[in-house]
Amino acid sequence: MMKDLIAKLKKHYKLTEPDYRRADLTFVTAQKDELRSLLIALRDIEGFTHLVLLTAVDWLEEGLFQLTYMLNNRAANRTLALRVMIPRANAVGDTIHDLWPTAETYQRELREMFGIDFPGSPRVNDEFILEGWTDMPPYRRDFDSLAYSLQTYRERPGRVTHDPREHMKKALYPDQKPEAAK
């Protein structure tokens, strides 16, 4: 069924080779300028009425952000995820808050956590979770959370880290010699 749908869509839109994860879950990459008409077609004609999520992936090495629009067809119990690649520098996405009002919240989150702008989306520049954040968006992969934490919050000395496997072995079987390094 998904194959039929993809074949049908491919007549009108430029899509890459789909990735059939499960019988009811398919990933496919679309073009940025075709995204809106594709979403409308899926929503109004193909019955994908529910926006499950809108999220982003940071492809740091390629210099790309991947936006994932996951749509669900409740009647047929099928999920289709559309991937759209946008350039990482000055990342701007197309707002879809008029198609699904919930997208407004997702877009606020992406604006804050990845720094992807969605011009026209209501309250997109308002703070979402963070308060008074001045650094780079923290979900970007070039933001080093540990380094930031070390530079911002004072450590309490005496913190030790154990390898869980070795530690439990030592705690449970103290007589056994640790395996010699080979």
Partner: protein, 230 residues
């Protein structure tokens, strides 16, 4: 230890702009007057906290401390997962009311602030305000490893690691999370501290006010509240 980028430098230069509702501005009153308002100055009293001395006589102070210890009123401010561990204390199984422990809904009437888990910067701001609105003497107990050294949030960009940098902590209860039994043992230990007259966190806060404020403002960048919330 997890690998991290030693060349990463956090961006400390940028100032966070004051929120719109907190900026000084000119407004027109309903009866037609035009007045200038500066919310941060007009709405709040900015006086720093005072050090409140103990009662003159030792016997009286000991008596008071006994009463304070036997009537601990907790502010129901839940942060992190510890908020869930606190609730069973009210139920028949643990029943903390036996020890004179009660939950009050307003900071004005409570004496004990339980920081029940990790504090993000956003929550820290509220916790500080709640703490400052409580009446002296007041006590702070940190629950779990998150308040002690960051716990599992040790590498988080938005979670503090040491609670005692920001608030005067009287006691930590270790664990991740400590179970209600550990909390009860902690309350009993806290009572001993109070009865011995060693729980002077509020005075400590007043004495080292500048240091505490500097620590707080170092992490809370959008400081849009008075320095001391009465």
């Amino acid at each position: 230890m997890k690998h991290f980028d030693p060349t990463f430098k956090k961006d400390t230069e940028k100032e966070f702009p004051l929120r719109e509702e907190m900026r000084p501005r000119t407004v027109e009153t309903p009866d037609g007057q035009t007045i200038e308002i500066e919310p941060l100055k007009d709405y709040f009293c900015e006086a720093p906290p005072k050090v409140h001395p103990k009662a003159y006589s030792k016997i009286v102070e000991d008596f008071y401390n006994w009463a304070r210890a036997e009537s601990l009123w907790i502010l129901g401010f839940g942060t992190g997962c510890g908020a869930i561990e606190m609730r069973p204390l009210m139920t028949p199984r643990f029943d903390a009311y036996r020890w004179g422990i009660q939950w009050r809904p307003t900071p004005r009437q409570s004496n004990l602030l339980m920081i029940s888990g990790y504090l993000s910067i956003k929550t820290l701001k509220r916790a500080i305000r709640a703490y400052e609105q409580m009446q002296q003497p007041k006590y702070v107990v940190g629950l779990g490893s998150c308040t002690i050294n960051g716990g599992m949030y040790w590498d988080s960009y938005n979670t503090i690691k040491r609670l005692d940098d920001y608030l005067p902590v009287d006691m930590y209860i270790a664990g991740c999370m400590p179970r209600p039994e550990a909390l009860l043992a902690g309350f009993v230990a806290l009572k001993k501290i109070i009865k011995a007259g060693k729980a002077e966190g509020a005075n400590l806060y007043a004495e080292n006010f500048a240091q505490y404020k500097a620590n707080q403002k170092a992490v809370i960048k959008d400081w849009d509240m008075p320095d001391y919330s009465w």
